[in-house]
């Protein structure tokens, strides 16, 4: 039980420091779990990271499930996942409750107006980071451009388009 609580606490901490994309989270996890506590060997940890990036869901959550399972089985992965989720769940609940009050607030509106251009830049950065990580050669870029051109006319679910590009990927990527 003590170990379960420690797992929960560790991932609660990770949940707090994971902002937005959460790149910093992996190095913090590695530092604490691998070097400070020696809970898991480094090669095992790196294996978890690489698989977490190619499976559905946020990387932080996948890491929590993996490491929790490794340490204490299914119950361990439940505690780790709850730990990651708890901070954002609590903070967002408080904000959601309060947001009706400040939605019409002038300062809030001005803040959000100033945030718009920043969001555009963050989205460009997301594209850059994804392409940097996995695109080799010109074919993936051509596929992405094709999706960009098709997407405005796409009436079906966007997920279907992702499935199609996935299958095309299996067929034509090397």
């Amino acid at each position: 039980m003590l170990m379960l609580l420690r797992i929960f606490a560790e991932f609660f901490k990770i949940g707090i420091v994971t902002f937005g994309g959460g790149q910093a989270m992996i190095s913090i996890l590695q530092h604490e779990l691998v070097y400070a506590y020696k809970w898991i060997p480094v090669d095992r940890f790196l294996y978890f990271v690489s698989v977490s990036e190619v499976t559905p869901g946020p990387v932080a959550l996948n890491m929590a499930t993996f490491i929790g399972y490794e340490l204490k089985g299914i119950i361990g992965s439940v505690f780790a996942t709850l730990g990651v989720v708890a901070p954002s769940f609590i903070v967002i609940l408080l904000i959601a409750r309060a947001s009706e009050k400040f939605k019409e607030n002038k300062v809030y509106k001005r803040f959000m107006a100033g945030v718009r251009p920043a969001i555009i830049v963050l989205l460009i950065n997301a594209i850059y980071l994804i392409a940097l990580r996995g695109f080799k050669g010109y074919i993936p870029y051509m596929m992405a451009v094709s999706v960009f051109l098709v997407f405005p006319f796409w009436k079906k679910n966007p997920a279907l388009l992702l499935l199609i590009t996935g299958i095309i990927g299996i067929l034509i990527l090397r």
């Binding site: 993996f66 950065n125 997301a126 679910n157």
Partner: protein
């Protein structure tokens, strides 16, 4: 109460679906989320969706969890936020458990790699279109261009965290934005 329960079940299934297709980090779910949350279910307006996105960037936790909790709460209170969050968490939880059980190394399987890159090309194309669309809808004031350029320098040259980029934009907005410049949500 039963209406809330029905809504919660619906939220659960929508977010389960979104969670299942989020491969390649939190941003990957933005196009899918916009489709379901804004266009189909109309839970949020376009403006509100962007607001929640911005809030997600400056609060702890993965975007997926933040979005699910916020939208769930707006629709059906605590029960709604719990079921939406559970929905978005469950697919990855189950997939990772399966992988742990059978100890398969997905990264070593060639067609999984290709499938993954293929899906990412779709994700990039969709995010690129959304970015273009968002850009088109802006009012091109001096303040807009100033914040855009500062954010570009911050992210790509100085490599500062998205948290600060959002905060800098927001604070410049508070100081410099004219109130009639805001597109109205409602």
């Amino acid at each position: 109460m039963s209406k809330k329960l029905l809504k919660s079940i619906k939220l659960f299934s929508i977010f389960f679906f979104i969670g299942l297709f989020t491969i390649g980090g939190g941003y990957a779910m933005i196009p899918l989320m916009r489709e379901h949350i804004v266009k189909r279910e109309k839970y949020l307006s376009e403006e509100e969706f962007l607001d929640v996105f911005a809030i997600s960037q400056i609060t702890p936790g993965p975007i997926a969890i933040n979005m699910a909790t916020y939208i769930g709460f707006k629709q059906a209170g605590i029960m709604g936020s719990s079921s939406a969050t559970l929905g978005v968490v469950l697919p990855s939880f189950l997939v990772i458990l399966l992988i742990s059980f059978f100890f398969v190394n997905l990264t070593k399987i060639s067609f999984v790699q290709k499938l993954f890159i293929g899906i990412l090309t779709g994700v990039v194309g969709q995010i690129a279109y959304l970015t273009f669309d968002l850009f088109k809808k802006q009012k091109y004031t001096i303040l807009f261009w100033t914040i855009l350029i500062i954010s570009l320098i911050g992210i790509f040259v100085l490599k500062i965290s998205p948290v600060y980029v959002i905060l800098i934009g927001g604070i410049m907005g508070i100081i410099l934005a004219k109130d009639n410049n805001n597109a109205n949500a409602s």
